[in-house]
Symmetry: C2
Subunit: 126 residues, 2 copies
């Protein structure tokens, strides 16, 4: 298995864990010094940083689906184009996202999501 | 040369042509039915659509630099993380972008850029 395929598999497993809202499984796939950068919003470090951002949000969701439209991988770099969908209070919100994942030793060391803050806010407001 | 490497080379040549503000060279690398989607802003089709969006803007610029931080390619799919920099009226503006390029027969058939409209507007306003 090539490095690119192995890297893409880690990212796919990470996203599937987040869709199950299984943060423990997701955070087992990141490095201790992981950087998680929601580019227009905020940046955190470490598995605990990711947990503090995602746990309250995912806890409010009754379902999570991240639809991957395209994905590309070269060595330790994986990028994908997604629609991230969250069911909140009986309503689905959706965000168009392009994500970057850089791996180190088989774990995600950098996760950076690009999206439009305005679209996210609008979708949240309904 | 693998398909992924060939695809990435086309995207690199495309970006270099845009940095030179050589739209003719850039548009020689896209399909007749290319879709160019500035996700938070607008979508156009065809080489002429791209020209109508980029020509007035690039014409105002005295220099253009697109710094590629990461790039990944799988088959016909290329994605990159960039800082697109434009010198306008003696001042540099910068936009953080994640781009998707899908090729067909060696030409770019889909180009979709993800960025935060608010950041772009703020950088333009100075």
């Amino acid at each position: 298995m090539s490095a690119a395929v192995a890297s893409a598999d880690v990212v796919t497993s990470f996203i599937q864990a987040l869709e199950r809202r299984d943060l423990d499984a997701a955070l087992a796939l990141v490095t201790d010094d992981v950087e998680y950068d929601n580019v227009p919003m905020s940046k955190v470090h470490g598995p605990d940083g990711i947990r503090q951002v995602l746990e309250p949000f995912l806890g409010m969701c009754t379902a999570v689906e991240w639809v991957v439209h395209h994905q590309a991988a070269t060595g330790d770099v994986v990028m994908n184009e997604r629609t991230d969908r969250f069911e909140l209070n009986g309503r689905w919100i959706a965000v168009s996202v392009a994500g970057l994942f850089v791996l180190r030793d088989g774990k995600i060391a950098l996760w950076r999501d690009y999206f439009d803050q305005g679209q996210f806010n609008q979708s949240m407001a309904g």
